[in-house]
């Protein structure tokens, strides 16, 4: 059983499992949306005193922070007990494309070139990772949700705003991937 779980999970298993998470949260009386936690953390840090967006009772989101804590633990469990040790099966075309922009595929989940000690100890590396995070955080709150809130919860509820957001996610993603990444790395 553990050996089976250690294999990379096929997409349909993961898709069904993610939908199950959303449905579970609905039956707990909650709505699946991860980026709300970023707002909650700002509130806990005291941002509510200066900025209206953060002036709310963060305890109503305690459940979501616990979900966040669980997701970190999930990462620990996956890395500690469920690592197959096999390299990622990335498509050959992607490996080739990334090589052209100077990123070597190393078989891990994330490239050491971007998340390894060398890059993150350089001012440029810190700047790029901070910038990426700022775009994600700013964009998620501006659009009122991220992949979980819009692409999963929103589309499941046939929300046009969520469809527009997903179009936006891809517009930004394609521009970054095809035009900006070659300039950044």
């Amino acid at each position: 059983m553990l050996d089976l779980l250690r294999q990379p999970w096929p997409w349909y298993t993961s898709g069904i499992a993610i939908a199950t998470i959303m449905v579970l949260l609905l039956f707990f009386g909650k709505s699946f949306g991860f980026s709300t936690n970023l707002r909650t953390i700002c509130t806990i840090a005291g941002a509510g005193k200066r900025v209206k967006l953060f002036d709310f009772d963060w305890k109503t989101q305690k459940w979501n922070l616990l979900f966040l804590l669980g997701s970190v633990l999930g990462g620990v469990v996956a890395a500690t007990f469920l690592d197959s040790g096999e390299p990622l099966h990335l498509s050959v075309a992607t490996i080739k494309d990334l090589k052209q922009i100077g990123i070597q595929f190393d078989g891990q989940l994330n490239p050491a070139q971007i998340f390894g000690p060398d890059f993150i100890s350089s001012p440029y590396g810190i700047f790029i990772l901070l910038l990426g995070g700022i775009l994600v955080g700013f964009g998620a709150r501006y659009a009122g949700g991220c992949t979980s809130g819009h692409a999963i919860s929103g589309l499941s509820n046939l929300q046009l705003p969520s469809l527009i957001s997903v179009v936006g996610f891809f517009t930004g993603g394609l521009v970054m991937t095809h035009f900006l990444l070659p300039l950044i790395f």
């Binding site: 898709g15 009386g29 992607t94 790029i128 910038l131 955080g137 930004g172």
Partner: protein, 137 residues
């Protein structure tokens, strides 16, 4: 303890994200280059099952574990905030290979560098709160 079920649900979520490789920078690149069905399969399956589940919940007016009817809120009707905000989000998603959930799963997985991305995401969230009223919505 009432909160434990959320920790366990989050833990399962984290394991799914890691084992389906949805937390992988490489997989996100593959998706934005249309070179694999993998990520589309994950999101597509989740949405199809989600659609059916939401339909059933609404149709039979199902109740949550506290006995209250499950209600769905419609998102505010607009397009500017979704298209502009979504595009800004997409730029960051493709750059870091992580949306907010996977950032935290990655930290658990041992990618400490994602802590910098999370710090950035908090800064971005705060910045939005500060200039919110000056932006088209």
């Amino acid at each position: 303890m009432k909160g434990i079920k959320f920790i366990i649900t989050g833990l399962i979520f984290g394991v799914i994200m890691a084992k389906s490789e949805a937390i992988s920078w490489y997989r996100i690149q593959e998706m934005f280059r249309f070179q694999s069905f993998h990520m589309y399969g994950i999101i597509g399956t989740a949405v199809v099952i989600g659609l059916i589940a939401v339909y059933v919940i609404k149709k039979f007016k199902l109740k949550d574990t506290q006995g209250d009817q499950i209600i769905f809120h419609d998102k505010d009707k607009s397009w500017a905030r979704y298209l502009i905000g979504g595009s800004i989000f997409g730029l960051g998603w493709a750059l870091t290979g992580a949306c907010p959930g996977p950032m935290f799963v990655n930290i658990g997985y041992g990618y400490w560098a994602m802590g910098i991305v999370v710090l950035g995401a908090l800064m971005g969230t705060y910045l939005y709160g500060v200039i919110k009223n000056k932006l088209p919505h």
